[in-house]
């Protein structure tokens, strides 16, 4: 690990305008610092800034940036009204990591692949302009949607996929004041600048994640992976769906494991609305989702896997 200056903040305002890397749970940042993939000169420990409360926000919920993933998944309100979020958090990492990992830190975990994690390979995300060894390399876990020649890594998180389906917002304090960004717009695609994973600017700090009023209907997070626990998604589907008189009355979807960010595509939900569920309808939804899908060789299997996973989740959500 490279040497750095360490400081402890006692309030979030100290992070606003700071050029230090913000240290919360550290489960991703410290791992990457050990590998010297991340080499910050200054680190500001924000764990004592009090952003660790879950509060009612009208009919919605305001989850402080430093609430641990475990605490969020165990919260009675989250389990009752936003179970998709609890399911997605519990599908990720290990209990030890979820105890330490925070809500905002989880959002800011790096989009990454094994080449990003090794300093002896070419990686545009780690070293802009150096190239991408994943294109011709081991790319079983890589993106099939929204990728570019610059980067084909996938965003590995589960929590943010559920938050995208739930239409959550990210509350950010910046030197020019407070702003909010829709979760769906928070992470970015690699075109142009592959080394930036999200729209957070230098000197900004996430203070909370907000959930709108609960959405009625079935909430399902389905994660397909290489082993049954403690592994990243090959494909995941987050779905909130409500039926009315045999037809799909509401549907909100997001997908993990497919792209550089939690993937959303409004055409998929639009195709489902007002329709009677059927295998043909689910196939049509998958056609729309995967119309631009591009395999890289080893990950070609993700295209039919995403189709089947979407169909299975839609089947489960629409059955009597």
């Amino acid at each position: 690990m490279r040497a750095f200056d360490y400081a402890r903040a006692t309030e979030a305002a100290e992070a606003v305008g700071s050029d230090a890397r913000l240290l919360a749970g550290g489960t991703n940042l410290l791992d990457l610092m050990k590998l010297e993939v991340e080499t910050p000169a200054r680190v500001l420990d924000i764990n004592r800034t009090g952003l660790d409360r879950i509060e009612a926000d009208g009919e919605g919920l305001r989850i402080g940036a430093l609430v641990s993933n475990s605490a969020c998944a165990a919260d009675a309100r989250v389990r009752a009204d936003w179970p998709l979020l609890a399911q997605a958090i519990l599908a990720g990492a290990s209990p030890q990591l979820r105890n330490k990992a925070t809500m905002a830190g989880n959002l800011c975990q790096r989009t990454r692949c094994q080449y990003f994690m090794r300093t002896d390979t070419r990686c545009n995300k780690r070293e802009p302009g150096s190239g991408c060894d994943a294109l011709e390399g081991v790319n079983r876990n890589h993106a099939i949607l929204g990728a570019s020649e610059a980067c084909i890594a996938t965003y590995p998180g589960d929590m943010a996929v559920a938050l995208a389906a739930l239409d959550a917002w990210v509350e950010i304090d910046s030197p020019s004041g407070r702003r909010s960004v829709a979760l769906r717009e928070f992470h970015r695609l690699p075109n142009g600048i592959a080394h930036r994973d999200n729209v957070l600017e230098p000197g900004e700090i996430i203070t909370a994640i907000t959930l709108p009023a609960p959405v009625r209907g079935r909430q399902i997070y389905r994660k397909v992976r290489e082993r049954s626990s403690y592994a990243f998604a090959l494909v995941s589907v987050a779905l909130v769906l409500r039926m009315d008189a045999g037809r799909i009355a509401a549907a909100q979807l997001a997908f993990g494991g497919l792209a550089h960010k939690p993937w959303t595509d409004s055409r998929v939900a639009e195709a489902l609305l007002g329709q009677k569920p059927s295998p043909a309808l689910f196939d049509k939804a998958a056609d729309l989702l995967l119309s631009g899908a591009q395999g890289q060789g080893e990950n070609d299997f993700k295209i039919p896997l995403a189709r089947r996973t979407l169909a299975a989740v839609l089947h489960d959500a629409t059955k009597e």
Partner: protein, 174 residues
């Protein structure tokens, strides 16, 4: 750069001062500075669970945390659960049920199991909990999922589950 930083921790009930390079992991502080070598270094990247300790009662990977981050925290290691002369229920059950072969992962397994039982008692759900609102039923599937952050390359998993279950049964109110 990396000027000495300070923190005061409580480790197994004793106050301990950390003063040193902020790069010192909590794991290295425990092992190298305090000579509490029960906690083990496996992968050093949060993937194996051998370094699991309790911080304010919650299990974490001590390899992925800096000592300096733990000012004011209470740390419990395997030595704090019970010395060789006075083993805790879980430690005795791991011996009775052969919950290990080489033993390298065992301190992490036991610390993890200790916190896992507290999480179950508090009703925390897991990825295999069928009904998120009513709370978990401690099936073998639940115990395996909840212990999935601790790898055992000897493959003592069935006996680890037996040991944990024995403690759960012993603690059940009559």
């Amino acid at each position: 750069m990396s000027e000495n930083c300070a923190a005061r921790l409580t480790v197994n009930g004793s106050p301990e001062d950390f003063l040193g390079d902020p790069r010192r992991s909590l794991l290295d502080f425990l092992r190298l500075d305090l000579k509490l070598t029960g906690t083990k270094k496996g992968c050093d990247h949060g993937q194996c669970g051998a370094c699991t300790v309790l911080v304010n009662g919650q299990r974490i990977n001590s390899c992925l945390s800096l000592a300096v981050m733990h000012d004011g925290d209470e740390i419990t290691t395997i030595e704090g659960l019970g010395p060789a002369s006075a083993l805790s229920e879980l430690q005795r059950a791991f011996v009775t049920h052969d919950g290990f072969q080489c033993g390298y992962c065992t301190p992490g397994q036991i610390c993890s199991a200790k916190a896992m039982l507290d999480e179950l008692a508090a009703g925390w759900p897991s990825a295999v909990t069928k009904d998120l609102t009513s709370g978990p039923i401690p099936s073998d599937e639940e115990l395996s999922e909840r212990m999935s952050g601790n790898l055992c390359r000897c493959g003592a998993y069935p006996n680890i589950i037996d040991a944990i279950r024995a403690v759960m049964q012993a603690e059940e109110p009559a």
